[in-house]
Amino acid sequence: MEYKNKSSLKVYSTYKENMSPENIRDFALQLRRDVVEITYYSGTQSSHIGGELSAADIMAVLYGAVLHVDPQDPEWEDRDIFILSKGHCSALQYAAMAHRGYFPREVLWNEFNRINGRLQEHANMELPGIEAPTGSLGMGLCNGCGYAWTGRLKNKHKIPPNYVYVMLGDGECTEGQTWEGVMLGAQLRLDNLIAIVDYNKYIISASTHEVMDLEPFEQRWQDFGWHTQRIDGHDIPNLINAFDKARQYETAPGKPRVIIADTVKGKPISFMMKDAINWHAGHLDDALYKKCMEELGL
């Protein structure tokens, strides 16, 4: 098929070292604009945009201030591991990876959902920097347990130098395997494992509450033996603090950590937030693309 040609937009903000919370807020806005653009220019003119926008602040904090990775050496042994278990939101991760320098930015426009493109709607291992092939939901936490446990094994059961981060969606917390991973992480005492749930309250067809209620969500993780924090997933300073706390060994020796981040699906695009059920995955035509960009200040 014929693809749309991208006329390059000015980059508003990109990754740099030691970003302040204000810088990271700008970075999150940039990621949201990127996601809209990736969606619009993708080979299918679509992505799972609702959950990408809800997780944009978390992703900005992770790639902007948390993850110790080296895009020049993606398999660096002591790197932090990040697994996007809600793998359908890959466009958001790709945007963040491009800013970190894993691949040139034009790949975002030219290779997402396009034939022979490297950016699969659900990421695969052929793209350096991707740590797990996810997309079939519920697997990421068990992948994280495998990384975290062998990380300890390699370091002779001392605390390893790196952390394993897994981002889950609330919808995928209705998968049984997610709870296998929750039990496993606690049983293996993986205090180098940090999960974060993008709790945007919508699954696909309706609210998570209506479909398969997760509450009392934080209590459930606690009862399974995890250290929990519950925060506003759009509050950047709080996200930074929560990750800082989760990384401290003293916070909860022997316990894996979870951050339950309350978020809004589609944020801040007004028509998506009002109609989250129809924006789990979505197509952006010319008019909707323009409207999104206007709402993102362009």
Partner: protein, 322 residues
């Protein structure tokens, strides 16, 4: 069978050989870890746990976890060996295997134990009759089923030696008559190579796993009736040794396949796929003919479902009439 050593392998049963091989591998390669799903007693891998407690981990009864965990572990440079019941590994964790081991081309070694009707006292729920169909259809996977303990030991070691995903299909251990040595003395297992165990002119019997000794017995029976049968051990089911198969079939012009598996998608299908455009010959499949099993004595099961030596002989005689 005598208690002599065959190619460095003491003459033990399949299950005991797996235990012994894993411990040896543990000593030879400190990257090998074993991931269990609470079938360790049955699959006989607890010697590894006792010898290398740090490198053994159990998931509880959670096959999906085991496979996803193995992927993550493999990314950290270790070589996970995952011995589980083949039925629950390939059916319950099919999606995890497809995406996180196959698609990821992960360096994970899956061992499917208790395959086919070798778990008689459990019935259709536990009898793994389509694991080969599932595993053969996964790109990137090497699929192996060995005929004797010595071959098993070599195959497990080879699987750890090569990079990439491997599925090794095993029977339940301690089935006395299958603990013999059926390959030739100087035999060395190679992926993609199928040894000819007996040469013949009239019909080729192609078998895997515990159907190999039955095929050899069938060849003896057929010889008494004046029929010369060639016997091929199809231990490397994928990649398949098309060259050996085609050469044999060009000579004999008739084939019988034998498998402890549903004939749909298993060894017979694999052979047909390999030869159909190169050497199409009449072929009959001995195996489970698309039905569920039941819990019963193993001898009764094999008789009822047609997996006996006599069934191979009958199939060969029928195909010779074509």
């Amino acid at each position: 069978m005598s208690e002599k050593l065959m190619y460095g392998c003491s003459l033990k049963g399949m299950r005991a050989t797996l235990a012994e091989t894993l411990v040896e591998l543990g000593h030879e390669n400190d990257k090998v870890i074993v991931i269990d799903g609470e079938t360790g007693t049955a699959t006989n891998i607890l010697d590894f746990r006792n010898t290398f407690p740090d490198r053994f981990v159990t998931m509880g009864v959670a096959e999906q976890s085991a496979v996803s965990f193995a992927f993550g572990a493999s990314r950290n440079g270790v070589i996970p060996v995952v011995p589980l019941f083949s039925s629950f590994m390939t059916r319950r964790a099919c999606d995890q295997i497809f995406i996180q081991i196959g698609y990821a081309n992960a360096n994970v070694k899956l061992i499917g134990c208790y395959s086919g009707f070798t778990t008689p006292n459990t019935g259709a729920t536990h009898q793994s009759i389509n694991d080969l169909a599932i595993m053969r259809s996964m790109p990137n996977f090497t699929v192996i089923e060995t005929a004797d303990p010595a071959e098993l030991k070599q195959a497990v070691k080879k699987a750890v030696e090569i990079k990439g995903p491997v599925y090794i299909r095993m029977i339940r251990g301690d089935l006395g008559r299958y603990d013999g040595v059926f390959n030739k003395e100087d035999y060395r297992f190679e992926i993609g190579v199928s040894p000819i165990l007996r040469e013949g002119r009239d019909v080729t019997l192609i078998a895997s796993g515990l159907m190999v000794p039955r095929a050899l017995e069938a060849a003896e029976e057929l010889a008494k009736k004046g029929v010369s049968a060639e016997v091929i051990n199809l231990s490397s089911i994928k990649p398949i040794d098309t060259g050996t198969l085609v050469a044999s079939l060009k000579k004999t012009g008739r084939a019988v396949t034998a498998e402890n598996h549903n004939v749909m998608g298993g060894v017979g299908s694999a052979v047909l796929e390999a030869i159909c455009d190169k050497c199409p010959v009449p072929l009959k499949m001995v195996g489970i003919h698309d039905r569920y099993g039941e819990s019963a004595d193993i001898k009764d099961l094999f008789e009822k479902y047609g997996l006996c030596t006599a069934d191979i002989v009958k199939a060969a005689e029928e195909i010779l009439k074509y």
